[in-house]
């Protein structure tokens, strides 16, 4: 469905993503793991077409990602990105104008669950409320692939459950979900595949169940092994 082939992104002398090859299959939840600066966000941005790879290619259903793939891929950035003049309602209208798979009804329902009202100005939202708005507008789409970059950042414990429920609600056999987070144990509960990134390289992409059965390790154990002191070298 989505194929990254030897994808590299360089910013001047710095390499953000280095020869990463990865396939994303439908019906699976991917946990994108790694410390800050490991290349998770850059890889996600390349998949959605916001960042152009320096080399390599990313294919969606056999075609290079671009205008067509953006119809099917929903991306939630970790940073706020809405126009400052927009209200919560304007954000919904904007998505409705540009994405055929966006449902205003679903958007309103998610907003209600998250205690957000339509008249709030996006520039006045706290970081937690902004995170909720980003999730609401992204999950109100019926996309084929969801890429969520740190969706639980700045969210309190109670709201976190709400967001996790909302995210898991889109899981279907034809849908791919990729979530990056530092909350490894939270992700382990819901993900099928763990993708470990370190220093711009892909260290491992492995089924979580398989990891438990074959290596007798949880994702948290593996995370410690890879990123802890004396972890796997790149």
């Amino acid at each position: 469905m989505l194929e990254c082939k030897e994808v590299t992104k360089k910013y001047g002398r710095k390499t953000a993503v280095d020869h990463v090859s990865l396939n994303l299959e439908p019906g699976r939840v991917y946990a994108m793991l790694g410390p800050n600066g490991s290349g998770k966000t850059t890889l996600m941005k390349m998949v959605v077409g916001l960042v152009k790879p320096t080399s390599g290619e990313i294919l969606y259903n056999g075609q290079p990602v671009g205008v067509e793939s953006r119809r099917d891929i929903a991306y939630m950035s970790t940073e706020p990105y809405f126009y400052s003049w927009m209200t919560v309602k304007d954000v919904g209208k904007y998505y409705q104008d540009f994405f055929e798979d966006f449902s205003m009804e679903r958007y309103e329902r998610i907003l209600n669950q998250m205690d957000l009202t339509m008249d709030l100005k996006s520039k006045t939202l706290s970081s937690g409320m902004m995170a909720k708005l980003k999730i609401a507008v992204t999950m109100a789409r019926r996309a084929k692939i969801y890429l969520l970059d740190e969706p639980l950042n700045g969210i309190d414990l109670l709201a976190r459950d709400e967001i996790v429920r909302c995210v898991l609600d889109v899981i279907a056999p034809d849908v791919t979900l990729m979530v990056s987070s530092h909350l490894v144990d939270e992700l382990e509960k819901v993900a099928d595949v763990a993708v470990f990134m370190k220093e711009s390289h892909l260290v491992m992409a492995c089924g979580i169940e398989q990891m438990r059965e074959e290596k007798g390790k949880s994702v948290v154990d593996m995370y410690r092994e890879i990123y802890g002191h004396g972890g796997i070298e790149q």
Binding site: K9, G49, L50, K52, V67, R70, Y75, Y83, Y94
Partner: protein, 249 residues
């Protein structure tokens, strides 16, 4: 693309409203001058309306560039580049909206001027008398008023086309700064120098084009308008091409 243009229009709505308010103030002073035979008001109104039209049109273009720069260099860029549109469409929406705004603003002020002229003729009591008042005011500010209306209109159109061409160079410079020069030292300065050099080259070419050197004002101005649009189109295609291949936001 219409939807993209709608949001481009919305982004700069505030300054459009400010310009309209200033224009309304100038218009009120002008009409008060006409109806109350208040010559100072008439003069102030004319000056305010003239300044609004000239600087308003210039600012509309500049603001288009500022918005484009912000759209490429802040996270707001995701709002545009996450949508299923190509760089050509995104840039096209900006250029067309900005160009239309400039042209419509120009036409709005031309029509307003014509309307004000007609109102003044009706109330002051004749074209001759009105022209003499305008000439008196013009003489005070050392402005030569002996030009025909059609000529003024054509020159205005040529100026607008030239302004849009300059803005197209600005769009290219901004994209160069955000793509091939991204992360390099003095990228902003280098792209500004590129903008100046490009401007200078195009002006040099315009000065040497035989079609732009004819005596007929009509042919010269229409040729200027045509050439300006052709250059703008080429610049748009180059800018879109670079964005499509190189732009990372």
């Amino acid at each position: 693309m219409i939807k993209l243009m709608k949001y481009e229009f919305r982004k700069n709505l505030f300054s459009k409203i400010i310009l309209l308010i200033l224009t309304a103030v100038g218009e009120a002073a002008y009409l008060a001058g006409v109806f109350l035979k208040w010559e100072d008001g008439f003069g102030i109104g004319m000056i305010v309306l003239s300044l609004c039209s000239i600087f308003g049109i210039m600012y509309m273009g500049m603001e288009g560039l500022i918005t484009f720069h912000r759209d490429l260099n802040t996270k707001q860029s995701y709002m545009l580049f996450l949508t299923p549109h190509s760089s050509y469409q995104i840039l096209g929406a900006k250029v067309v909206e900005n160009g239309l705004t400039i042209f419509l603003t120009g036409i709005f002020y031309a029509l307003l001027g014509l309307l004000d002229f007609t109102v003044a003729v009706l109330y002051i009591g004749g074209v001759e008398q009105l022209l003499s008042i305008i000439k008196d005011i013009g003489a005070e500010f050392s402005i030569n008023m002996n030009v025909r209306f059609e000529e003024i209109l054509l020159v205005i159109l040529a100026l607008l086309a030239g302004w849009i061409m300059t803005l197209a160079m600005g769009y290219l410079a901004i994209v160069l700064c955000a793509t091939v020069l991204a992360g390099k030292r003095l990228s902003g300065l280098i792209s500004f120098v590129i903008f100046l050099v490009l401007n200078w080259c195009v002006n040099l070419a315009f000065n040497h084009l035989p079609i732009l050197d004819v005596d007929s004002l009509l042919i010269r101005n229409w040729a200027t308008i045509g050439c300006a649009f052709a250059v703008s189109l080429v610049l748009y295609l180059i800018t879109g091409w670079i964005m499509e291949r190189k732009l990372s936001v």
